[in-house]
């Protein structure tokens, strides 16, 4: 190994900056609140995922129907006697499942297309551009709606529908920085050293656009949760009896005159979830922006 190559390999190692990032994130108000809110909602969802809800979110208890908030039922029960808190927790788990899978699919595919179309010339860029233009010609919710009603509906098809809508956003967000990075000296140097494209793409380019991808992932999570909820509100989300936050709000809307508490828990959890993710995204953006280095 030549000394030159050793120097470049040293550059490839990620600096121990994770700790610094965390400190900077927690130093900003939005970052701190984002972490707290997201952690609380994630905690509720994870508890539901392992079955640790106060009551079974699906089984019906007709004797206890339409009960107001009490010590036994913190947020009351619905028209079938199901505990609203347990159902909201299970709803969080459902949206998490949909949102995480949707964002992973769109982030991986979108970033890959974005990097490839930025790095390789017009032969890749042309078709990718045309495809993103087509997907961008739909208002996002409309496209998700149309896609979600295709095929047998379950949580996975809903996730794929949302993923397809967000792929072009990842393409656009990652392509621009790749276009300018392509001309950067360290990439040129890597080329001169004869590194294969694969290695340049994954070890030199990808780490440099990671901050952008991370921020986009966080913000997309909040959109995905929102879209999943809107779909389930319209009756096109994860099908019943699985609790979903959107369909809970829909049911509560018709009950609100006699049982206003039915809307409180699902609405509150949904807002906390989205506010938390948005704040976390903002906090991460500031923490990852090298221009803010001096502030912390």
């Amino acid at each position: 190994m030549t000394t030159n190559e050793a120097a470049w390999l040293a550059v490839e190692e990620a600096p121990p900056e994770r700790e610094r990032l965390w400190r900077r994130l927690m130093a900003s108000r939005s970052g701190r609140w984002g972490v707290i809110l997201t952690a609380v909602v994630l905690g509720l969802g994870l508890l539901a995922a392992i079955g640790a809800t106060p009551y079974d979110p699906i089984s019906q208890r007709p004797i206890d129907r339409m009960q107001g908030p009490s010590a036994a039922y913190l947020f009351g029960t619905d028209q079938f006697g199901r505990d609203i808190l347990s159902r909201s927790m299970a709803g969080v788990a459902t949206s998490l499942q949909v949102a995480i899978v949707a964002v992973i699919i769109s982030a991986v595919l979108g970033t890959t297309f974005g990097i490839l179309s930025g790095f390789f010339g017009s032969r890749v860029r042309g078709p990718v551009n045309a495809l993103t233009n087509i997907l961008f010609a739909f208002p996002p919710l409309l496209l998700a709606l149309a896609l979600a009603s295709v095929a047998t509906r379950n949580w996975f098809t809903v996730a794929v529908a949302i993923a397809i809508v967000y792929i072009p956003i990842f393409v656009r967000v990652t392509r621009a920085p790749v276009l300018s990075l392509r001309e950067a000296d360290f990439i040129k140097a890597a080329r001169v050293l004869g590194f294969p494209s694969q290695r340049i793409l994954f070890r030199h380019l990808l780490p440099n656009i990671m901050p952008i991808v991370i921020v986009q992932v966080t913000l997309s999570m909040s959109w995905a949760v929102l879209t999943a909820a809107a779909l389930s509100y319209l009756g096109l989300g994860t099908p019943p009896p699985t609790p979903a936050l959107g369909s809970m709000v829909f049911e509560a809307k018709n009950l609100v005159a006699i049982a206003p508490w039915t809307m409180v828990a699902p609405g509150l959890v949904l807002i906390m979830f989205i506010v938390g993710l948005n704040l976390l995204g903002d906090g991460l953006r500031d923490a990852l922006d090298p221009r803010n280095e001096s502030h912390s």
Binding site: A137, P139, L141, L142, S149, L270, I274, V275
Partner: protein, 320 residues
């Protein structure tokens, strides 16, 4: 200036995109389980003989190869025939002629509210960054970004109906020419819900654009020359921040044309989003296909107009 070559290229690009949209929608609908026959006859379709089903398929034209069906549809659309609804017998062109103005009215009102709320909020928070004022404005922006419109809509609707017994949307929809007063009352709540959501991106864009412009030399020069603060704010800072604000507003307006589905549904506003949703639920191929095509076309036109608009606002873009 905008050259004719540029316009030709933009139109060509838009045509390719529209064609892609058409293909995508067509393919998507054909993957749907169940066809028009089961959708219109329901369970009875199962009691028919194979020969009867074949006859119906031939009648609806869905026995043809997909490519033939697609080209047939495209030729019809090009000649202005958007198809008919199986259920009501109404042509999609008629349906769209009745639903599109409703959505346009709603989108214009919502955008107006969004700009009226978002731009001043953005200016307010940019006037003293990181102050309490900035924090408050950003908090409102965060709420606008995070409260789902279906939740806000459902809350407003039920609260007003319950406490004030006020629910103009429960009455039949009034067109502005029939009863402008009732029409505006019916449009108010959905426009507020959509406008509130719209204010968030507009506010954020305004804030960052103004912060960017404010730090530039020509603003300092203007202040140094003794230009009044209000004039500096409006004539120098806001004017030069308009391009991103107009772009963001244009994009959001475009989204509203099809993306107001949920709010139209909640408030029973018979707009184009609802036309799409009902078509989707009843598997009316013709209605859904043509509605989506119309929405995509509008979206492209709005984006094109936005593009033109900021060329007018910012002379530098014209030559650039």
């Amino acid at each position: 200036m905008i050259t004719s070559k540029r316009i030709a290229r933009t139109v060509a690009e838009a045509t390719v995109t529209l064609l892609g949209v058409a293909v995508l929608v067509f393919v998507m609908l054909r993957v749907l389980p169940g066809d028009q026959i089961t959708a219109s006859l329901g369970i009875e379709a199962g009691m028919m003989t194979e020969a009867q089903l074949d006859a119906l398929r031939a009648y609806y034209g869905i026995d043809q190869p997909l490519v033939v069906q697609f080209l047939g549809w495209l030729t019809e659309v090009a000649s202005g025939n958007l198809g008919f609804s199986q259920r009501t017998g109404q042509s999609v062109l008629e349906m769209t002629a009745s639903s599109l103005p409703v959505t346009l009215e709603l989108a214009i009102l919502a955008t107006l509210l969004g700009v009226l709320l978002g731009v001043p909020l953005g200016m307010l928070s940019a006037s003293r960054p990181n102050s309490r004022r900035d924090g408050g404005a950003q908090l409102i922006g965060l709420a606008a970004l995070s409260i789902p419109s279906f939740l806000l809509g459902a809350l407003l609707l039920t609260l007003l109906a319950r406490i004030l017994r006020y629910n103009p949307n429960a009455m039949g929809f009034a067109r502005p020419l029939e009863d402008l007063g009732l029409n505006l009352q019916q449009m108010m709540l959905p426009a507020i819900v959509l406008g509130f959501a719209l204010a968030a991106p507009i506010m954020r864009t305004t804030r960052s654009a103004i912060l960017e412009v404010k730090s530039q030399d020509f603003v300092r020069t203007a202040i140094g020359k003794g230009v009044s603060p209000l004039r500096v704010q409006v004539r120098h800072v806001l004017h030069n921040s308009l391009v991103p604000i107009v772009t963001m507003t244009g994009i959001q307006f475009g989204y509203l044309l099809g993306g107001a589905v949920v709010v139209e549904q909640i408030f029973s506003v018979p707009g184009i989003g609802r036309q799409f949703l009902i078509g989707m639920q009843q598997k009316e191929y013709a209605v859904v296909q043509s509605t989506v095509l119309v929405i995509a076309l509008l979206f492209l036109i709005v984006n094109l107009l936005t593009d033109l608009l900021y060329r007018i606002i910012d002379p530098r873009v014209r030559t650039g």
